[in-house]
């Protein structure tokens, strides 16, 4: 058999070819238009192919050509600031060729192969290079040095090395055994990139969102799931993380979601400043957009394309954060393909291998020692879209079994416009243990204790609310009424954070700590004053308290908060005399 066959059958995105020599995951070209596809099943003579473009109009008998390569991404300078489709075609190049509508049969390089970059060698002739070693630098954007690495599996003594302007395909280094190295390398998306060892995470991914950093922290190299019904805030949360988290690089995958949401990111990010570096956010971002109306097989591939790019930057020693919105659409793409293959379905029609695919994907997160001895991480944050918001379904369950952080979005909170609508009673993070040392060393010695107090108050509130539902709040003793007021302050002043507020959308972690302390300080002052006869109502309504609470919407809050707390406490003390 040769590497050329013919189409036998077409059923939506699934095409069967006969008479072709093929191996699993080979990339093939289907039909006269050469549509890109991937072999996903073999039956005797027949190769089953998932096609990444629309198949209407294609006929049995048309040719199929096996490229004998596996589905791979191109990795090299030029990745940053790009927006790709699920199979790494730049959307800007597609627009140039096709206009505003995505037609088919067009190939596009992942980046401009002619463009030159200034290559600065980091090794010299005669040096011994190992697999994964950095042998050159390219200043790709203002903030990011793109480190040029020896591809995994290669290595040897440097025979010659260049310096100066080169494009991605020119040889910049030759090894003694004749191996030529370019700046660009390729990697098959379905295989994790190798590393030396995985470390236990010990540093938080600081997100600037109070409820996340303070109550349910995520570690760099960890994995988190955000399930929630539509309209509960998955996308806004993911976008906030892309904007504000202290990762050095961000890979944002819009997987089977809205076109306009990607446009919004494209419009917004070039103008937004990364609070961690003071430079435009776009400089550290790679986007993958395979929206809901784009071909479903490419949607399946998009998460692999994204995570492979993330691993590549990790291998340079960077902390990378990857957001996938939404992993449910990826799972549905698997279901759709699986059902076309007439595979035996598991739960709710999903293929039986769903949970292992989910687990394999999240396992590609991690903090690692890279092949060249550096420390790098990939943090993965996956949105989940459970039908009807009910997380007993397979994708949510498969995700929760593997991730250590669960940020549960709640339709009820969203309806009350409590944003982020993360339910503080059922969300969890299993990382505090490993991160507490970092919080003690870098923020405050008593950080974990303050967190415990805050979450304790929220628990008590939940219990008291049950009573209030039956008898009204006036029936409670005043100390419990005070507890309710303190808890309300936690919710409205601390947990609520408008993702679109120009100032409050991002809250420095030191400020988070000060705000939490301010709440506890209010509680103390109020207790003391009330013990001396002040009325709850007076204590709660001191003007300085609303000033303190409103202060978070203004710049420079961190410098003012201490004085504002002091003023509040003085006014509360005065409330004793007023009575």
């Amino acid at each position: 058999m040769s590497n050329e066959g013919v189409i036998y059958r077409i059923s939506g995105p699934v095409v069967t070819a006969i008479g072709m020599n093929a191996a699993m995951y080979d990339v093939v070209r289907v039909g006269h238009e050469g549509l890109m596809g991937e072999v996903i099943e073999l039956h005797g003579e027949k190769a089953v192919i998932q096609v990444y473009e629309d198949t209407s109009g294609i006929r049995p008998g048309e040719p199929v050509l096996n490229t004998e390569e596996t589905l791979s991404v191109s990795l090299g300078p030029g990745l940053l600031t790009q927006i790709y489709d699920g199979i790494q075609r730049p959307l800007a190049s597609l627009e140039e060729v096709m206009g505003v509508f995505i037609t088919r049969g067009v190939d596009a390089d992942a980046f401009d192969m002619e463009k030159t970059w200034t290559f600065e060698p980091q090794v010299a002739k005669g040096d011994e290079l190992v697999s994964g070693q950095v042998f050159g630098h390219v200043q790709e954007t203002e903030t990011i040095i793109h480190k040029i690495m020896v591809p995994p599996g290669k290595g040897g003594k440097v025979k010659s090395i260049e310096s100066g302007d080169f494009n991605n395909t020119q040889t910049v280094c030759v090894l003694e055994d004749g191996t030529e190295l370019q700046m660009m390398q390729k990697w098959p998306v379905r295989s994790p990139r190798p590393f030396t060892q995985k470390y236990a995470p010990d540093t938080p991914l600081v997100t600037g969102m109070r409820i996340l950093d303070f109550l349910f922290p995520l570690a760099k190299g960890g994995a988190a799931g955000i399930p929630g019904p539509f309209g509960s805030g998955k996308t806004v949360t993911q976008q906030s993380l892309a904007k504000y988290s202290d990762a050095q690089l961000v890979v944002y995958i819009g997987c089977g979601e809205r076109g306009n949401e990607m446009t919004e990111v494209l419009d917004e990010f070039p103008h937004l400043i990364d609070p961690n570096t003071g430079k435009p956010l776009m400089n550290r971002t790679v986007m993958i957009a395979n929206t809901s109306n784009m071909p479903v097989a490419a949607r399946e591939a998009s998460v692999y394309t994204g995570i492979t790019i993330a691993e590549y930057f990790r291998d340079m020693g960077y902390d990378v954060a990857l957001m996938a919105d939404s992993t449910s659409r990826w799972a549905e793409a698997m279901r759709e393909i699986s059902s076309r293959l007439e595979e035996m379905p598991g739960e709710e029609g999903y293929p039986a291998y769903l949970s292992s695919r989910i687990a394999e994907f999240y396992e590609r997160a991690g903090r690692v020692e890279t092949l060249n001895g550096d420390d790098g991480s990939v943090t993965v944050i996956g949105a989940v879209s459970p039908p009807g918001g009910d997380i007993s379904e397979p994708v949510s369950q498969g995700t929760l079994r593997i991730v250590k952080v669960f940020w549960g979005l709640d339709a009820g909170l969203a309806r009350q416009r409590h944003f982020p609508a993360i339910n503080w009673l059922n969300s969890y993070s299993l990382y505090p243990q490993s991160l507490d040392q970092w919080f003690r060393d870098n923020i405050a010695q008593d950080f974990p204790e303050i967190r415990t107090q805050i979450s304790g108050l929220l628990q008590i509130e939940a219990e008291l609310q049950e009573i209030v539902q039956l008898v009204g709040s006036d029936a409670l003793p005043v100390d419990q009424q005070l507890t309710l007021e303190v808890a309300r302050m936690i919710r409205e002043f601390f947990l609520q954070q408008n993702g679109f507020d120009p100032v409050d959308a991002y809250c420095d972690i030191k400020l988070q700590y000060e705000m939490a302390k301010a709440i506890l300080s209010f509680q103390e002052a109020a207790k003391t004053a009330m013990a001396d006869g002040a009325l709850l109502n007076d204590v709660v309504n001191v003007p300085a308290r609303s000033n303190l609470m409103r202060g978070r919407f203004e710049e420079g809050y961190i410098e003012r908060i201490e004085a504002m707390v002091k003023e509040m406490n003085e006014q509360i003390a005065d409330a004793v005399e007023a009575n």
Partner: protein
């Protein structure tokens, strides 16, 4: 390719015909079936191989037998498009239904439609004033948005859709919309209601209607919205029109999808709907928007009726995951005699933030909308509490909020079917109603706005 007629049908099942054939047939190719009584039916290829072709028949498979002749037409489904479409009424398969001539095509457009490149989209930001306070204030519509109406049987969603179609305009502009109306399985009575309203207001001249009624072939409903959207794309992106697409009822469309899935013996997803329904719906809804370098736009108003008033049913659920918000119609408000019975609490316009404010609507819009929403939400919640503990147990603030929730429904929501309120009128009305609450409880408003707009300070 056209011409050769096959008589090789082996199986007929539900809306599907299976046949052996001899020459290669394209995936998605259109098919004509000639019955022995001379009747002609149409279909489309769903699966094709050297041995077997599966055809989905739009008009149903009644009377099809092994003698039925099948001709493959050599091409995928295309709609002849030209500006002559405007003012016409077509059936669910795109044939004239108004007795007029065939459409003379400028070009023929593939009805599946290609995906808009996300890189080529432009974020919608033009405020559309519908004249309906609940929408304009709380779930503001933006030109290029897809905003469905989640309703249920027996509720006045059609009146609302028509009122929007009649009144929708850009603020300070009389630029008009072209309405593309797409009926899927609605009753003749409902259709006549739409049609006569469009006729009465003269809108029909500026509209294109695609009509598949309850007694028309169910499977045809799969293509009707695609025809409508293809016409809309042509008018918007080739001819620079601003197009408003109203399609109703998405629930009938989804049921047709389910019927085909069942006939193919596919593994069903939730409640028997196919697992790919999300993708299928997205291929319709995502055809809304604005693209770079084109003057026109497509705004979509899909209407769906939630089976059993259940918002978690797969049809509203999957729709809500794709559309840019939703307007939810409430049976409870309808029963209280309130029109339009829009429940603002579960309603949402995701694009609202981009089109309201000083430059477009008014500086107080965002805060007023937040405050109205919050006060109403709290007031509604208190109704539940009052039912248990009685009104006397409420403090002053809660009493005011409780009363406000009634005023909100009675004066803010309620308006007549031809009442077209400007955004200024709507916002002024909000201030007037909020004056029933002590300003100290209006925590979402700031002092500056209160000074500027509160009736006490304006007198």
């Amino acid at each position: 390719m056209t011409g050769k007629e096959y008589r090789t049908i082996t199986d007929v099942k539900g809306p599907l015909v299976f046949l052996n054939k001899t020459e290669p047939v394209a995936f998605g190719e259109i098919v004509t079936l000639r019955l022995s009584n001379g009747e002609i039916k149409n279909g489309q290829v769903l699966d094709t191989s050297d041995d077997l072709v599966i055809v989905q028949v739009f008009e149903g498979t009644a009377k099809i037998n092994r003698d039925t002749g099948v001709t493959f037409m050599g091409d995928v489904f295309k709609l002849p498009v030209s500006t002559d479409l405007v003012g016409r009424i077509l059936d669910g398969a795109g044939r004239p239904r108004d007795g007029g001539p065939e459409i003379v095509a400028d070009e023929k457009a593939d009805i599946i439609g290609a995906a808009i490149n996300p890189y080529s989209r432009q974020s919608p930001h033009d405020f559309i004033q519908t004249g309906i306070s609940a929408i304009d204030c709380c779930t503001t519509l933006v030109r290029g948005q897809k905003l469905p109406i989640f309703s249920a049987s027996g509720l006045p969603h059609n009146d609302i859709a028509l009122q929007i179609a009649r009144q929708a305009k850009l603020k300070d502009s009389d630029e008009e919309f072209i309405v593309v109306f797409c009926a899927m399985g609605i009753t003749a009575e409902e259709y006549n209601f739409f049609r006569s309203d469009l006729e009465r207001t003269g809108a029909l001249e500026n509209a294109v209607l695609f009509v598949n009624l309850a007694d028309d072939p169910a499977v045809e409903r799969i293509i009707t919205p695609r025809l409508a959207l293809t016409a809309a794309e042509y008018l918007a992106f080739e001819k620079d029109y601003h197009v408003l697409v109203i399609y109703t009822d998405m629930t009938n469309y989804c049921d047709a999808l389910r019927q085909i899935g069942a006939a193919r013996e596919e593994v069903p997803g939730r409640r028997g709907y196919p697992g790919y329904m999300y993708t299928d719906l997205a291929m319709l809804y995502e055809r809304a928007g604005i693209v770079k370098g084109k003057k026109g736009s497509i705004t979509q108003f899909p209407i769906l009726t939630m089976p059993g008033d259940d918002i978690t049913h797969p049809i509203p659920d999957l729709s809500g995951y794709i559309t840019e918000g939703q307007i939810v119609i409430s049976r409870e408000l309808h029963q209280q005699g309130i029109y339009p019975p829009i429940n603002v609490l579960p309603s949402l316009s995701r694009l609202m933030g981009s089109c309201i404010g000083e430059k477009t609507t008014r500086d107080d819009h965002k805060k007023v909308s937040d405050q109205m929403y919050a006060a109403y939400a709290q007031g509604r919640e208190l109704r539940g509490l009052v039912a248990i503990v009685g009104e006397d147990a409420l403090n002053e603030r809660d009493k005011q909020l409780l009363d406000f929730s009634g005023v909100f429904e009675d004066q803010f929501l309620r308006q007549s079917r031809d009442e077209d309120r400007t955004i200024d009128e709507t916002l002024d009305l909000c201030w007037q109603l909020m004056a029933n609450i002590d300003t100290k409880y209006l925590v979402r408003l700031d002092e500056e706005l209160i000074k500027k707009y509160h009736p006490e300070n304006r007198a």
